[in-house]
Every structure is written in structure tokens, then in C-alpha cells.
């Protein structure tokens, strides 16, 4: 997979209440959820982001609730993928299960500024910043998770078996 997009930077411990506040969980409609994506981290986020943009997080991105509404909201908002130093366990699992591409890179966060464009080659496992020489490696995705993505998510993977 290949992704190019403008970067929006968030800090450590971005929790699922910040990604999609519980007050909007009276629906599971992706379009409705997308309207409030990242609202409690940045109330203007949905006004300023463009489809294809990339979210960059620090440590423990997606901590808190098990709500799958969080990766659903990010995906439906048009964010192409999320890169973070580390991901909270359930968010990591949910993202693979429902098909939001996510990548771990400890180095990228400190070297990229908000608004810069980055390019991700998930096959080669490399991230570059447009106009800059330095590249950053992506932590390899475990083969099992790669299989999940290739099959189109957990339920399609099960159906294939």
C-alpha cells in the first residue's frame, strides 16, 4: 500500500473519548460519527482536514474505550492512515479488524512538523517527508495482521477459512 498526505499532529495518549466523544455514540452510522472525529482533541479538525490527510500520534494512541466507533470515525472522515509511536491494544486490534491502516514509527513523530506531506510505502516499510532526504522505518506488521488486511478484515478472513 502507498499513502501520501498532509500531516496532522496530536500528542501522547490520544484517547477514544477525544477521537469520538461518547455523547455521539447513540449512532454507529460512519457518516454521522465522522462529523465529530477528533472533536475533543481539536474542535476545528473536521473543518480544516482534507480527505487523504494523515494523523500522527505519540505514545498509546487510541487508549481508553473499546469503541470501534473510533477507527470507524477516522476512516469515514477520509483520513488515509494513522502513524503513531505506539498504539493502545484494543485500538490496534480494531483498526486491523475493520480496515483502517495504521503504522508504528517511533522516529517519525519528532522529525515531522504539522502541515508537512509524508509518503508511506508499506511494502518497503519506509516513510519519507516530501522535500527531505531522511527516511523513517515502519515497525514490521506481524504476518498474521498482514493476512487480515489482505483478506479484507477479520470476518472476511474467517469466511475465507
Amino acid at each position: 500500500m502507498h499513502f501520501s498526505g498532509k500531516v496532522w499532529k496530536f500528542g501522547d495518549n490520544i484517547d477514544t473519548d477525544a477521537i469520538i466523544p461518547a455523547r455521539y455514540l447513540n449512532t454507529s452510522d460512519p457518516k454521522e460519527l465522522a462529523l465529530h472525529c477528533m472533536e475533543d482533541a481539536d474542535p476545528d479538525f473536521m473543518k480544516i482536514m482534507k480527505p487523504g490527510d494523515i494523523i500522527i500520534g505519540g505514545e498509546n494512541f487510541g487508549c481508553g474505550s473499546s469503541r470501534e466507533h473510533a477507527p470507524i470515525a477516522i476512516k469515514a472522515a477520509g483520513i488515509s492512515c494513522v502513524v503513531a509511536k505506539s498504539f493502545a491494544r484494543i485500538f490496534y486490534r480494531n483498526s486491523f479488524n475493520m480496515g483502517l491502516p495504521i503504522f508504528e514509527s517511533r522516529e517519525l513523530f519528532d522529525n515531522v512538523a504539522e502541515g508537512e506531506e509524508i509518503n508511506i510505502d508499506s511494502v518497503k516499510g519506509i516513510i519519507s517527508i516530501s522535500g527531505k532526504q531522511k527516511t523513517f522505518s515502519i515497525n514490521p506488521i506481524p504476518p498474521f495482521m498482514e493476512q487480515l488486511i489482505a483478506d479484507g478484515g477479520l470476518l472476511k478472513h474467517i469466511a475465507k477459512k
Binding site: 473519548d17 475533543d40 487508549c63 481508553g64 470501534e68 484494543i90 479488524n97 478484515g153 477479520l154 472476511k156
Partner: protein, 419 residues
């Protein structure tokens, strides 16, 4: 090389003869849980995958506890979706209306989850059942859909951190204070992807209610599960509740841990987690003058009868400060009834408390106790993230029932010792 209790329970749910951390396994699920927020997505996925039948109608639990009593039309629709699915598939453990309680208080109370079980739930606080010596972990809705279809789910075997907790705890110090202190020490990702195993002389004497509070908040340190080796206290709790066989597991003496952390609990005072992370913890004596607008006693962390008894002891013949809205939410109908029979509800009403129906509503900022901008609440719940209980500019301070009750009376964060 020996195994931890977590490794042993996981292995017992596979055909494997040995198991080690990092291994990917497919394991049988004893109970798969969903609620009115997470189950609708799971049901949609279940149907999209061509699901016609759940793997076992006795092993799926559907609990309508979050936005109930239905807070608005959309919430009512979500409940309707789950109810219709439960009827269609003749789900045995389906709860709503006057039978519903906060799921993680309700399932143990009814003996639906038992020691040695492997439990998954589309709710992050599913880890609560580790208090019974079960392996229990939160997952998303797609995982729930997969488990409802097949009764099997994939897991990565976690490493374990062993906590050895010793010392006699002081009056007014509870399991809630122990777990807040631990999260304060290791941070909100201190146990990321790992198991937290609670042991030691303090734990051996700790009542079930306190163990539930501790296991409940393992997720707040990023853990996959929290677990206690079942013992005589566990046995006493389940003997009248279990309606099927169960098994006690224990870690081997030579089990391998990624880390061993020792804590002298005898030195601890009641703890307070300041906004906006559960790891932002201080002793109550160091809280300073923090004026509050609301005090919430309830939730899957601290809405049990033991919690209400502690609160009643403090609130008896006292009143909430005039500027404080005191909300008490018994976690299940049985707890509500017990509180009524023991005279606790009368004490609460005389203290000017609002007694809420069993619901998760206020804890996650859904309904039944929302905060306005600039307002502050003490809450016996488990999360104090930005906007957790209402306006993004409101604040939540996590405390024990004793501190929540004392704070309600004094109108500021306070220790019961100050009364």
C-alpha cells in the same frame, strides 16, 4: 519453565500443550459480551458475514446498560436492534429494563462469568472479571461478531507483570486506591499489551468488591487483562452463584514475568486521579482546595453494595454541600434492592442525593449527570479524559466511594478523616 495463571487459562482454551508470551493462538470463548453501544455494530458485521446462528445461545451476553433508560430516539433504536437480535437468536443472557445492571457488576453477580473462564467483551472494562481468576479482555465490535459466529477468537499471549502488594491498609483505603496508586506509578501505558497479576499478603485478604475495582482498571494502565488467583474469598463469592463447572488456576512458582513490582500498601492514603489521565494521581492530603460541583458514586468500578455501605457510613446524618449534586447509582437491581433493605437509600435521600437507576450513563457522559463547562466532579468511575462526563472544559477527579462521599459533604475534594 512454569506458566502464569493467564498463560494457563489461555492454553486450557486451545489444543496446545505449551504456550509462551508473544505466541498467536486461536482460543475458545466461554462468554462473549456486548452492550447497547457496541453490539449494534457487531450485529451488523455478524449479518454482513452471513451469520445465521450464534455459536451458543448460552454463551452470548447482551446487556443494554449504557444509554438506558433510553436517553433519546437514536439510543432507543440501538436498543431495539439488540433486543430484536437477542429474541431472534434466543440469547439466554439478555438484560434490559428492570433486570439490567451495569454489565461488569451484573455478570459476576449472576454467576455468568466464573473462575477459569475465557471472556471477551466489546467493552474495555471486561477485564473486571479477572477478579474471579478468569481471563477477561476488552475487544471491539468486529471481534465480538467473530466470537458470536465461531466461539473462537485470536489472541496474542501477553507477558505478565507481577505486583506483590504487602502491608496492612489504613482505614478508608480500598482496592480503588491501590489500583489508582499503581496506575500513577506505571502510567497509562505502563502495562501496554501485558497482563497485570495482583498478588501478595494485602491481596490475599482483599474482599471481592475491592478486587473487582482493581481488575476493572487494568485497562487504564493499557493492560490486556488484570488477574487475581482465586482463593477462599473467591469460592465464598461464587458458591451460591455458579450454575456450571469452573476451575481455579494459579501461577507456577517458576512462572516468568516481564517485571515484578512490590508495593507497601500500609503507607498509602486515599488517592485522587486529577484530570485528564487516570495516572495523574496524588494522595488526598496533597489535593489542595479543589471545589466540586458534583459527586458520582457508582459504575462498574465502584457501584457495588460494599461501595454503597462505605458511602452511607460517611453520609449518615450528614448532607451534601448545597452547591454539590450528589448522584448515587447502584450498579444492579439486586444492589439497589439490598441498599433499600439495609436502609442505605434513606440515608442517601436524607443527604440530598439523587438515586439513579443502574446505568453507565453518567460515567461516560451519556446522560443522568452531565457536566457543564468549567464544572468539576469527583467520581468513583474509571476515566477522567477530556470531556469524559460532559463538556470538554469540565473536569473529572477519580476517587474511592469514601472520598466521593466526604467530598460531597465538604463541597471540595476531601478525606473522610476531615469530617
Amino acid at each position: 519453565m512454569g506458566n502464569t495463571i493467564t498463560e494457563k487459562i489461555l492454553m486450557a482454551h486451545t489444543k496446545l500443550k505449551e504456550i509462551h508470551p508473544g505466541q498467536l493462538i486461536n482460543a475458545r470463548v466461554d462468554i462473549a459480551l456486548g452492550n447497547d453501544i457496541t453490539a449494534p455494530i457487531a450485529i451488523r458485521e455478524f449479518r454482513a458475514a452471513g451469520g445465521k446462528k450464534v455459536f451458543n445461545k448460552n454463551k452470548v451476553a447482551l446487556v443494554l446498560d449504557h444509554f438506558t433508560p433510553n436517553k433519546d430516539i437514536n439510543s432507543a433504536e440501538q436498543c431495539k436492534t439488540v433486543r430484536e437480535f437477542a429474541m431472534e437468536h434466543k440469547i439466554v443472557h439478555f438484560y434490559e429494563g428492570g433486570q439490567v445492571g451495569v454489565e461488569h457488576a451484573l455478570l459476576p453477580e449472576k454467576g455468568i462469568v466464573l473462575p477459569g473462564d475465557l471472556v471477551i467483551g466489546a467493552d474495555s472494562h471486561t477485564c473486571t472479571y479477572g477478579a474471579l481468576g478468569a481471563f477477561a479482555t476488552g475487544v471491539g465490535s468486529t471481534d465480538l461478531a467473530a466470537a458470536m459466529l465461531e466461539g473462537v477468537l485470536w489472541f496474542k499471549v501477553p507477558q505478565s507483570i507481577k505486583f506483590i502488594i504487602y502491608g496492612k491498609i489504613k482505614k478508608w483505603v480500598s482496592g480503588k486506591d491501590l489500583i489508582l496508586n499503581i496506575i500513577g506509578r506505571i502510567g497509562v501505558d505502563g502495562a501496554l499489551y501485558q497482563s497485570m497479576e495482583f498478588t501478595g499478603e494485602t491481596i490475599n485478604k482483599l474482599p471481592m468488591a475491592d478486587r473487582f475495582s482493581m481488575a476493572n482498571m487494568a485497562i487504564e494502565a493499557g493492560a490486556k487483562n488484570g488477574i487475581f488467583a482465586p482463593d477462599a474469598i473467591t469460592k465464598e463469592y461464587i458458591k451460591s452463584r455458579a450454575k456450571r463447572p469452573y476451575k481455579f488456576y494459579a501461577s507456577d512458582a517458576d512462572a516468568v514475568y516481564s517485571q515484578i513490582i512490590e508495593i507497601d500498601a500500609g503507607k498509602l492514603e486515599p488517592q485522587v486521579a486529577f484530570p485528564h489521565l487516570p495516572s495523574n494521581v496524588k494522595g488526598v492530603s496533597k489535593a489542595g482546595k479543589v471545589k466540586i460541583d458534583q459527586s458520582l458514586i457508582g459504575s462498574c468500578t465502584n457501584g457495588r453494595i460494599e461501595d454503597l455501605r462505605v458511602a452511607a457510613k460517611i453520609l449518615k446524618k450528614r448532607k451534601a454541600a448545597p452547591h454539590v449534586r450528589l448522584i448515587i447509582a447502584p450498579a444492579t437491581p439486586l444492589i439497589y434492592k439490598q441498599a433499600m433493605q439495609e436502609g442505605l437509600l434513606e440515608i442517601f435521600m436524607k443527604a440530598d442525593a439523587v438515586i439513579s437507576p443502574p446505568s453507565c450513563g453518567a460515567c461516560l457522559g451519556g446522560h443522568l449527570g452531565i457536566l457543564a463547562s468549567g464544572e468539576r466532579a469527583v467520581a468513583t468511575t474509571n476515566r477522567n479524559f477530556v470531556g469524559r462526563m460532559g463538556h470538554p472544559k469540565s473536569e473529572v477527579y477519580l476517587v474511592s466511594p469514601a472520598v466521593a462521599a466526604a467530598s460531597a459533604v465538604l463541597g471540595r475534594i476531601a478525606s473522610p478523616e476531615e469530617l
